[in-house]
């Protein structure tokens, strides 16, 4: 009894010190000079641009990785082929590799001196120091989440329901939409939320390929860092709060889903 209480105290203190206090500090600093000042700081053209660019990253990376993630999970669970173990490990590479390295790799591939760089430049497509490269980096970084959330669910559901659907006359496509997808929907939802959170907050890989051009290639995390470097503390804090609010929203929707799942 006493030991468990002590353990709880340690856990809470740990969270307070490392999580609540810093985040609370950001909120406090942001609204230190009133809401109006904070509002003014997040409505500068550069901040607004950064906000929309961040949402663009999410809007492209999340659907792309959801479709890929479900497909990849199906392949990993349902099929047997040589090289399956390799594919399985490859999916985890974005977890293992430092985001900065990912960014550098993209520069080496798509940059002016890179393998595809000249060809792309000849065709008027700019990847590095442009939103396209940032989207690629975001997709790469947030790739494993849907796969990793869906694989165990798919394994647990098994293939009997799909077989039943096929004996009842459903085509593979119909069986997927009407039986498989509904039965893995919670796994997909978790994966989507984690992907969103990662895509929102990514700094390392995106910053390497972005060139950090204010009003052009700045996402919110980069905007925060740039503002901080330029001693624009009000701008840095308030943009942080926007990011934190977006993150909070994703965590909240995750909890809503959890509750929904339990009541089922």
């Amino acid at each position: 009894m006493r030991a468990s209480r002590r353990l709880r105290a340690v856990a809470l203190a740990y969270l307070a010190l490392l999580l609540v206090l810093p985040v609370g500090m950001v909120f406090y600093r942001t609204f230190e000079h009133g809401v109006a000042a904070a509002w003014a700081a997040v409505t500068t053209p550069d901040a607004i641009h950064a906000f929309w660019l961040t949402l663009l990253m999410v809007a492209v990376a999340v659907p792309a990785n959801t479709v890929f993630g479900i497909g990849c999970a199906l392949v990993l669970v349902r099929q047997r082929f040589p090289g399956k173990a390799l594919l399985n490990s490859l999916v985890d590479v974005p977890f293992a590799v430092s985001p900065v390295v990912v960014g550098l790799a993209l520069v080496l591939l798509y940059g002016r001196a890179g393998w595809f760089g000249t060809w792309l430049a000849d065709h008027g497509i700019q990847v590095i120091f442009a939103p396209l490269g940032m989207i690629l980096a975001t997709i790469f970084i947030s790739l494993p989440f849907v796969v990793r959330e869906v694989v165990p669910v798919l394994r647990e559901v098994g293939s009997e329901q799909e077989e039943a659907a096929s004996t009842l006359g459903a085509s593979p496509w119909q069986a997927f939409w009407r039986v498989t997808l509904p039965s893995i929907r919670w796994g997909v939802a978790y994966g989507v939320i984690l992907t969103t959170a990662r895509a929102l907050g990514e700094f390392g890989a995106v910053s390497v390929v972005s060139g950090k051009l204010a009003g052009q290639t700045e996402t919110l995390p980069i905007h925060v860092e740039q503002a901080f470097q330029n001693f624009d503390l009000a701008g840095a804090y308030s943009a942080s709060v926007v990011l934190a609010a977006l993150a909070l929203l994703t965590v909240l929707s995750m909890n809503l889903i959890k509750r929904e799942e339990v009541t089922r």
Partner: protein, 323 residues
């Protein structure tokens, strides 16, 4: 013939699941595929359904070659051991699934589902989810779902295997009744000989990837074609080099021609029948089944010396090399 399987073989890696299997199932019949686990009976059923592609051989359903027709177009109803209920759909949507895939009008689906729910005694459960049903109810729902599309053949893979003994017994009787009313050609897989005997008109015994014997229940019991079948479909006693059913051994109080001396070790009264365990002079254990009246007449008790005489008409010569 409703189902014709000719020379079907199927291998999973190193494991030979079906070895040149052929089988005919009559229109409107109720057939059991009986065998120990790993004998290939489930694989055969899945090959007929199109859920498994045979390595060689052909499958005809109602005269049409369906060997390479995908499951979705074979017109078979399939019932799985673990129900395979669509967990995210209500009972109504589960049963109506096949019809809705076929894009039948709503009103028609509704009417048909109502009829089927009535047939499987689930009328009050249309709006429940599978998780809110018992195992027996789920399996009846799965049956209604399979019947909804009016399949050419109904295939059931150990349909009662996951249910407890009471529900199982009830569902067996119910399946027979259903078959009498619906008359769809039905094949079910089981490893339980009693279940096969009780439900089926025709039993296909499988062993080690091959068909061991095809016969009606009574013939199978009385004239097993091999030692394996004899042992698998009922209890056996070994008398000399013969295999005999325990009720085909007569217990005599005095020595007689062709009778072997034995000592009673134990007498078990199981209601109408009495099971007597005996030991012969050369130390073999033999179990014999007699009626209660006969046991009383012989005043059987442990330690008593009696003589055993097998009825050779139902006996089978034991073959020690192939069990």
């Amino acid at each position: 013939m409703s189902i014709e399987v000719v020379g079907v073989s199927k291998r999973f890696g190193d494991f030979l699941a079906l070895d040149d299997v052929s089988l005919n199932v009559r229109d409107g019949s109720l057939t059991a595929l009986l065998g120990p686990s790993g004998s290939g009976k489930s694989t055969l059923l899945r090959v007929i359904a199109g859920l498994e592609l045979p390595d060689s051989g052909t499958v005809h359903i109602r005269g049409a070659d369906t060997t390479h027709v995908p499951a979705q177009r074979r017109g078979v109803g399939f019932v799985f051991q673990h129900y395979a209920a669509f967990k995210h759909m209500t009972v109504r949507d589960n049963v109506g699934f096949g019809l809705s895939i076929r894009k039948r009008p709503r009103a028609e689906i509704r009417e048909r589902v109502d009829q089927l729910l009535e047939l499987v005694h689930l009328s009050g459960f249309a709006h429940r989810y599978p998780a809110q049903l018992s195992g027996g109810q789920r399996q009846r729902m799965a049956l209604a779902r399979a019947l909804a599309v009016e399949p050419a053949v109904l295939l059931l893979d150990e349909p009662f295997g996951a249910l407890d003994a009471n529900v199982r017994k009830e569902l067996r009787e119910w399946l027979r009744d259903l078959h009498e009313r619906v008359h769809v050609t039905t094949v079910f897989v089981t490893h339980d000989q009693e279940e096969a005997m009780e439900v089926a008109e025709q039993i296909v015994v499988m062993n080690e990837a091959r068909v061991a014997q095809v016969a009606p229940p009574r013939e199978l019991y009385e004239h097993p074609g091999s030692e394996f079948v004899m042992r698998f479909v009922g209890p056996v006693a070994e008398m000399g080099n013969e295999l005999v059913r325990p009720h085909d051994i007569e217990i005599l109080p005095l020595p007689d021609w062709g009778a072997e001396e034995a000592m009673v070790r134990r007498v078990n009264h199981l209601g109408f029948e009495v099971r007597v365990e005996l030991e012969t002079t050369d130390g073999r254990r033999v179990a014999v089944q007699v009626t209660r009246a006969r046991a009383v007449e012989l005043e059987l008790e442990a330690g008593q010396i009696v003589w055993l005489r097998p009825d050779h008409r139902g006996a089978l010569r034991a073959n020690r090399s192939a069990a």
